[in-house]
Amino acid sequence: EPHLTFMRETLGIMQHHDAITGTEKQKVALDYAKRLSVGIRACAANTRSVLNQLSVQSETSASTSETRSDYIFDFKICPLLNITSCPVSESNERFALTLYNPLAHFTDEYVRVPVAHHNYKVIDNKGVTMEIQLLPIPSAVMNMKNRTSNAQYELVFFATNLPPLGYRTYYIEKLNSSEGFLRPSFSPKKT
C-alpha cells in the first residue's frame, strides 16, 4: 500500500500543467522524471507479488494440492527498453518474458528484446517453439552516449492471443552456436 500511495501522490504532482506540457524548468522536469521512476520501481514490487500469486495459483490449480511456493520469479521491469537496453535479457542466457495485456480484449504484439548474441530459442507456455528473427540494433542507437548496454541485436517474435487483463509468459534461451544454428536472416545492403 505505501508503494501505491507514493505512486498516487507522484501522479498527483504530474497533473500540474507544467508536468503535462513540459513548460517547467529543466531541473524540475528531471525531478518529475525521477519521482516517476522511483514510483514505478516501488510499484514493481506490487506487480511482482501479484504475478507470483497468480502464477502460484495457476500452478496450484494445475497440480491439485501442492503449491510450488519455491517458484518465486523476479518479474523485473526494464525501463530502458525505449533505448533498447535491458540488463536481464542482455546478461542472462536463460530468461522468461511475461507479457501483461492491459486491454479488455485479446491482442497480439510483435515483441522486441535486446540481446547480446544471435542464436536463441523462444518457447511459449505450451512448449511451442516460436518463430524468431534477429536484427542488429541500429548504429545510431548503439552509439548513443550514456547508453551502457552490451546488447547487439533485437530478438523479434510475434506474441499472440494475449488474454484480456491477463498475461502470457515465454521462455527464452541462448543456443550454443552449433545448435540449430540460424545465421541471422539479414543481409545488409549498403546504399
Binding site: Q26, D74, C86, P102, G127, F158
Partner: protein, 288 residues
C-alpha cells in the same frame, strides 16, 4: 526497378536511390509518397512586446518561417526476414530512423532517433517529420481530440471567426495527441503518434509533426529559461515512433481504414507490460 522495396501483402514501401521513401502501395493504390526531416529556425524575439516573443517552451514561432532540409542523401541498410523487414536510414549525425513493416500488418512503423540537436551556429532548431502525398486535401486535415474524436481543421481558417494569421506556419499548428489525417475522394493518409506533438498540413497532401526542439532564448512567459534541454552537457536525444497508414478513403466491404487505425491506436498506446525473470536455475521443462 531502382527502388528498394520492403513490405508485405498489405503495404509496400519503395525507397529511391537517394535513400528516401518515395512510393507506397497499399489497399489497391500505388502513390508517390515521400517522407523527410526538416527543421524550422526558432525565432529570437526581443520579448519587449507580445508580438515579438522568442520561440520557447510556451511558444512555437519559426524565424520568418525559414525551413531547412536536413539531408539530400540518406544512407540506408536493408534487413529482410520472415517476421519483419526494415530499412535503417541515416540522415545525418543527429537524425536517423528505422522504417519497418511487420508480417501481416497493414501499416508501417517509422522509429525516429533525433539529437543532440547541434547549436554551434547559435540557431535554435525545431525538427519536424513531413509526409508528402498527392492527396488533394484542399487545405483540410483532421487532428484527434485527446485520443478520441477527430476535429476538422482548415488551413488559415478558424471555425468561429475571420482569422488574420500573423504566423502562417505556427498559426496552422494544432495539438496532436494520437493521430493526424487527411484524405480526398480516393485516398487517405494517417499518422499515429506515440506521444502528444504539434502537427499541421501546410500544403495539400502533406502532414507534418514536430518531433524535437532545442531553443536558445526564453519566451518570457514565466519559466525564465530557454527550452534547451541537455543531458551530461549534450542536447537531449529524443526517440519515438510514428505509425503510417495509407489506403482508400471511405469504407469498402464494411472495413474502413479508420477502424483499423482505431484498433492499432489502442494497442500501440496501451502495449503489453513486460516483465523479465532470470531463469538461471530452471531449464525449459522445469519452467513449464
Amino acid at each position: 526497378s531502382s527502388l528498394t522495396v520492403i513490405g508485405n501483402e498489405y503495404i509496400k514501401l519503395g525507397f529511391d536511390t537517394n535513400g528516401f521513401l518515395s512510393e507506397v502501395t497499399a489497399d489497391g493504390l500505388t502513390r508517390i509518397v515521400s517522407q523527410e526531416f526538416l527543421y524550422y529556425e526558432g525565432a529570437k524575439g526581443n520579448n519587449a512586446e507580445f508580438l515579438n516573443r522568442s520561440s520557447g517552451a510556451y511558444i512555437f514561432r519559426p524565424n520568418k518561417n525559414k525551413i531547412h532540409f536536413v539531408a539530400n542523401q540518406v544512407d540506408i541498410e536493408v534487413y529482410r526476414g520472415e517476421i519483419v523487414q526494415e530499412v535503417h536510414q541515416k540522415f545525418n549525425d543527429w537524425i536517423s530512423q528505422v522504417v519497418r513493416v511487420y508480417r501481416s500488418k497493414s501499416y508501417a512503423e517509422f522509429e525516429w532517433l533525433i539529437g543532440p540537436i547541434p547549436i554551434d551556429d547559435d540557431v535554435g532548431k525545431e525538427v519536424i517529420t513531413r509526409f508528402n502525398s498527392g492527396i488533394e486535401s484542399a487545405g483540410i486535415f483532421y487532428t484527434d481530440s485527446n485520443g478520441r474524436e477527430m476535429i476538422k481543421r482548415q488551413r488559415n481558417r478558424r471555425d468561429t471567426w475571420n482569422v488574420k494569421l500573423n504566423e502562417e506556419v505556427s498559426g496552422n499548428y494544432y495539438p496532436v495527441t494520437t493521430k493526424i489525417t487527411l484524405e480526398d475522394t480516393t485516398a487517405r493518409m494517417a499518422i499515429l503518434t506515440d506521444r502528444a506533438q504539434g502537427g499541421s498540413s501546410l500544403q495539400d497532401g502533406a502532414l507534418e509533426l514536430m518531433v524535437h526542439r532545442r531553443l536558445l532564448h526564453d519566451d518570457a512567459f514565466g519559466v525564465g529559461e530557454a527550452l534547451n534541454e541537455t543531458e551530461h552537457g549534450k542536447g537531449l536525444i529524443a526517440r519515438g515512433k510514428h505509425l503510417f497508414f495509407f489506403g482508400q478513403s471511405g469504407t469498402r466491404k464494411g472495413i474502413s481504414l479508420k477502424a483499423t487505425e482505431r484498433i492499432v491506436q489502442i494497442e500501440s498506446l496501451l502495449p503489453t507490460w513486460k516483465f523479465f525473470s532470470n531463469m538461471k536455475s530452471y531449464n525449459a521443462e522445469e519452467w513449464r
